[in-house]
C-alpha cells in the first residue's frame, strides 16, 4: 500500500502543530467557542450531546496493521475503549476531551493518519471500493486515483469554503460497491479495447433531505485529465452553487436546477479554458503513486484449497461463514474475508480496541498487512489465503467478529442517532439491535437472503436510509420518536431512492413491521428473487397492506 513520503508526513505534522496552537489559544480563553468552532471542525472535532467527537479519516477505507493498532491505542487511552466505523469509512471516537485532541492528532500523524477534512464545507475524505486490488472484475485499482484526489484536495486553496460539504467515491469495477451514484461526484474506471483508461464521471447524487441519483456528465474522461476536470466541476459549483440556504447548497441541487446537460456544458466550458498541464499530475507522479499500490507478496497457489474445503465439509457454521463472509479473490488460492461489525445485539459499526487489535494482528499475519473499512460499516481482510481462512474464522469468532451475516437482514447500517448526535430526531442503534435480535437465527437470515436495512436518526441520512432495501428514518412527532419506512432503495448498480411505505410508526412497532414485510416477501417471492426484486415486481401495495392492516 502507498506509504506517505517525507512531504506527506510533514503536511500532517504541520497541521497537527497548527491545531495544537489553536487549542492552546482556546483553552487559554484567547478565542471564543464561536471563533474556535470552524477551526476544530476543520480537524474533525465536533461538539456532540455529551462530549467532543473526533472523526478520524481513513482515506479510501484502507489501513495497515500499524495504523489499526494505533486507532486501538487511541480508543483505549483517550476514549472508552471503542470506536464507531461510519458509512464514510471514517472512525468516530465519541468521548473525547478537548485537551487531548492535539495529542491524538500527533499520534495519528506518526502513522500517516489524520482528521483533515472530515468536516466543513470542503472536499471530504475519499471513499473507494473496499475490494480494490483484490477483485477480478476491476479494470484498475481505484485507490491509486483516490490517493491522487486526496493529495490534490488537501488544503485546497480554492475549494475549502464551498457552498456545502463535498464527497467523492471511486470504483474500478463495473459492479458498484462504493455507492458512486449517491455521491457528489462518483467516478468509475473504464478500460477501452486498446487498454486506455478513462473515468465515467457521475455528478449530483446524494442523500439527505433531497435524495438524488447522480447523472453521468462525461462518459469517458482520460485518466490523466482527472484533476483538471475535477477543478472545473468544483469551480462551477463553488461559483454557482446556492449559498442562501444550507438545505439547498449541495451540488445535487445545482445539477438538478440547471439540468445535467447544462451543468455538463458549463463544466466543459470551464475545462476548455483551464491550463490542464498546470493542474494535472505529470505521468511520473502518477506512476509513483501507482507503484505504491502495486500488488506484492502474493504466492502462487492452486485455486482450490483442501484445508478450506475440508473445513466447510466438517462444520456447518464455517460453511455458513464461507457462504456469506468469504468472497473470491482475483489471485488463485486467496479470498476476501468480511469481518462483521454487526454481531447480534451490538451497535452496528462499533469496534472495541481489543477487536481492532485482533483484526490488525490477523491483517499482519494473514492478509499482507492490509485491512479495509467498508461503507456498510464492516471491516474486511482483503488478501487471505484460502488455506488460512479457517484459522482467521476461528480467531474472529472468538472475538465476536464472525457473524455470518454480510448483506443479510442483520447486517444493518445505522448512524449513531440520538444516543450521540446533536442533530438526530430519534435513536437508530436500539432499533437496529432489536431487528437484529428478531432475525438472529442464521438459518432464517439465510432463508431471507440479501436484504439491506439502513437506519438514519434524522433526514441528514448518515445511515443511508434512502437507499436501503428497507430504509428507516427517525422523525420527531411532538417530542416522540417515530420511524418512517421506505422500500425499494438501492445504493448499488441498480441505484434507486426508496418509496415511503406509509405513516411513521412508533418505535415498538418497527420490528413487527419488518416482520410483516419479510413475511410478504417470503410469500410472494419467485425463484431467485431478492427482497428488492420482489418489491420491484409486486409493488408497494401488498407490503403496505401487511404493515398497516392491524391499524384498521
Amino acid at each position: 500500500m502507498y506509504r506517505y513520503d517525507d512531504i506527506d508526513r510533514e503536511m500532517l505534522a504541520d497541521r497537527a502543530a497548527e491545531f495544537r496552537q489553536q487549542c492552546v489559544r482556546r483553552l487559554a480563553g484567547e478565542i471564543t467557542e464561536d471563533q474556535f468552532k470552524p477551526l476544530r471542525l476543520m480537524n474533525g472535532l465536533y461538539l456532540q450531546l455529551h462530549a467532543y467527537m473526533l472523526r478520524i479519516a481513513i482515506p479510501y477505507g484502507a489501513l495497515n496493521s500499524v495504523q489499526l493498532r494505533k486507532l486501538a491505542d487511541i480508543a483505549r487511552e483517550y476514549d472508552r475503549g471503542y470506536g464507531h466505523f461510519t458509512t464514510r469509512t471514517n472512525l468516530q471516537l465519541h468521548w473525547i476531551k478537548l485537551k487531548d485532541a492535539p495529542d491524538i492528532l500527533d499520534e495519528l500523524a506518526t502513522v500517516g493518519l489524520h482528521a483533515i477534512q472530515t468536516s466543513g464545507n470542503c472536499i471530504r475524505n475519499l471513499t473507494a471500493d473496499p475490494y480494490a486490488g483484490a477483485t477480478a472484475d476491476e479494470v484498475d485499482d481505484p485507490r491509486i486515483w483516490a490517493e491522487v484526489i486526496r493529495q490534490w484536495s488537501t488544503f485546497h486553496p480554492e475549494f475549502s469554503f464551498l457552498p456545502r460539504k463535498f464527497k467523492i467515491a471511486v470504483t474500478g469495477s463495473p459492479k458498484d460497491r462504493a455507492a458512486i451514484r449517491v455521491y457528489d461526484i462518483g467516478l468509475r474506471l473504464h478500460r477501452d479495447g486498446e487498454g486506455a483508461l478513462s473515468f465515467e464521471v457521475i455528478v449530483g447524487g446524494g442523500q439527505g433531505r433531497a435524495p438524488h441519483i447522480g447523472a453521468v456528465i462525461r462518459e469517458r474522461l482520460p485518466v490523466r485529465r482527472l484533476l483538471s476536470y475535477m477543478q472545473a466541476i468544483l469551480r462551477v459549483y463553488n461559483r454557482h452553487g446556492r449559498r442562501d440556504n444550507p438545505n439547498k447548497a449541495r451540488i445535487k441541487i445545482l445539477v438538478a436546477s440547471l439540468g445535467a446537460e447544462e451543468f455538463a456544458r458549463q463544466v466543459e466550458e470551464e475545462w476548455s479554458l483551464t491550463d490542464k498541464e498546470a493542474v494535472d499530475l505529470p505521468d511520473t507522479e502518477l506512476a509513483r503513486i501507482r507503484a505504491g499500490f502495486a500488488p506484492t507478496g502474493f504466492e502462487a497457489l492452486p485455486p482450490v484449497s483442501a484445508a478450506y474445503e475440508k473445513a466447510k465439509a466438517s462444520s456447518a457454521a464455517f460453511a455458513r461463514f464461507a457462504r456469506h463472509n468469504v468472497v473470491a479473490h482475483k489471485q488463485p488460492g486467496y479470498a476476501l474475508v468480511h469481518v462483521s461489525l454487526k454481531a447480534i445485539g451490538e451497535t452496528p459499526g462499533d469496534c472495541s480496541a481489543d477487536q481492532m487489535e485482533l483484526v490488525a494482528d490477523l491483517a499482519e499475519r494473514y492478509s499482507l498487512d492490509e485491512a479495509r473499512v467498508t461503507y456498510e460499516q464492516n471491516l474486511l481482510l482483503p488478501h487471505v489465503k484460502l488455506d488460512d481462512v479457517p484459522a482467521v474464522h476461528e480467531a474472529l469468532a472468538a472475538a465476536g467478529l464472525a457473524t455470518p451475516n454480510i448483506a443479510l437482514i442483520s447486517d444493518i447500517i445505522a448512524c449513531p442517532g440520538l444516543d450521540y448526535c446533536a442533530l438526530a430526531n430519534a435513536r437508530a442503534i436500539p432499533i437496529a439491535q432489536d431487528i437484529a435480535r428478531r432475525f438472529a437465527d442464521p438459518v432464517l437470515a439465510e432463508t431471507i437472503g440479501e436484504l439491506k436495512i439502513k437506519i438514519s436518526g434524522c433526514i441528514n441520512a448518515c445511515g443511508h436510509h434512502h437507499v436501503g432495501h428497507i430504509g428507516i428514518l427517525g422523525v420527531d412527532k411532538k417530542g416522540e420518536e417515530f420511524y418512517q419506512l421506505t422500500l425499494g432503495g438501492s445504493a448499488d448498480d441498480d441505484a434507486a431512492i426508496g418509496q415511503v411505505l406509509g405513516p411513521a410508526l412508533p418505535a415498538d412497532r418497527v420490528t413487527s413491521a419488518i416482520d410483516h414485510l419479510v413475511e410478504v416477501y417470503l410469500r410472494e417471492r419467485r425463484q431467485g428473487e431478492r427482497f428488492l426484486d420482489t418489491f420491484r415486481r409486486a409493488g408497494l401495495g401488498v407490503f403496505k397492506e401487511a404493515v398497516y392492516a392491524e391499524a384498521h
Binding site: 513520503d5 503536511m11 470552524p38 485546497h156 486553496p157 469551480r235 463553488n238 498546470a278
Partner: protein, 167 residues
C-alpha cells in the same frame, strides 16, 4: 479607515492605503477610489479619463470576467467576502490572476479573518483588510503555515509533485 496589510516577498506589513472605498450613492472624493462594478460600468470611462488611480470592488456574485477588457487600467480589484464561509472570491481571484492575467493589487475585503491567510495568498491576493485585530506578524506566519502544498495555484509555489521530481 480600515487598515491595510500587504504581502511582499512572503512578508506581511502595514501599508498606506491611497484608495477610498466609495459606495454607489456616495459622491466621489478626490484621489484614488474603489467603486462597485455597477458604478464602474456606468462611470468608469470618465473616472479613468480623469487620470486618477481606480479600483473595482466585486461582490461575491459578480463575475470577474466582467472586467476582462478593463483589467490593465485597474490598479486594484477588491474581492468581497460577505461572510468568511463564502468562498466564491477564491475562485474569482484565481480566474483574475491565472486566466485573465491581472497583475495589479488583489485585495480581500469584508469578513476577512486570520485563518484565511493561507488560502488568500495561494489564490493570488496580495493585500487584505482584516476584520479582526490581527497583526502583520500573524498574517506572515499563517500564510507560511505549511512547508509544502499539493496543488499549483496563483502564488507560484512549487507543488509537492514538482518537489518530488527535484529532490
Amino acid at each position: 479607515m480600515p487598515k491595510l496589510i500587504r504581502w511582499q516577498s512572503g512578508v506581511a506589513a502595514w501599508a498606506e492605503d491611497p484608495f477610498t472605498a466609495v459606495d454607489d450613492d456616495q459622491s466621489l472624493p478626490r484621489g484614488e477610489v474603489i467603486v462597485s462594478l455597477a458604478r464602474f460600468q456606468r462611470e468608469g470611462r470618465d473616472l479613468l479619463a480623469g487620470g486618477r488611480g481606480l479600483g473595482v470592488r466585486l461582490e461575491s456574485d459578480d463575475a470577474p470576467e466582467a472586467l476582462i477588457l478593463d483589467l490593465p487600467q485597474l490598479e486594484v480589484v477588491a474581492l468581497t467576502f460577505p461572510k468568511y464561509r463564502d468562498g466564491r472570491a477564491y475562485s474569482a481571484a484565481r480566474v483574475l490572476r491565472e486566466r485573465l492575467g491581472f497583475r495589479g493589487e488583489l485585495r480581500a475585503v469584508g469578513d476577512v479573518l486570520l485563518e484565511m491567510g493561507h488560502l488568500l495568498v495561494r489564490c493570488g491576493f496580495d493585500t487584505v483588510e482584516p476584520a479582526d485585530d490581527t497583526t502583520p506578524e500573524q498574517w506572515t506566519r499563517v500564510a507560511r503555515r505549511y512547508r509544502h502544498v499539493y496543488q499549483r495555484a496563483a502564488d507560484g509555489r512549487e507543488p509537492a509533485f514538482a518537489e518530488r521530481v527535484r529532490v
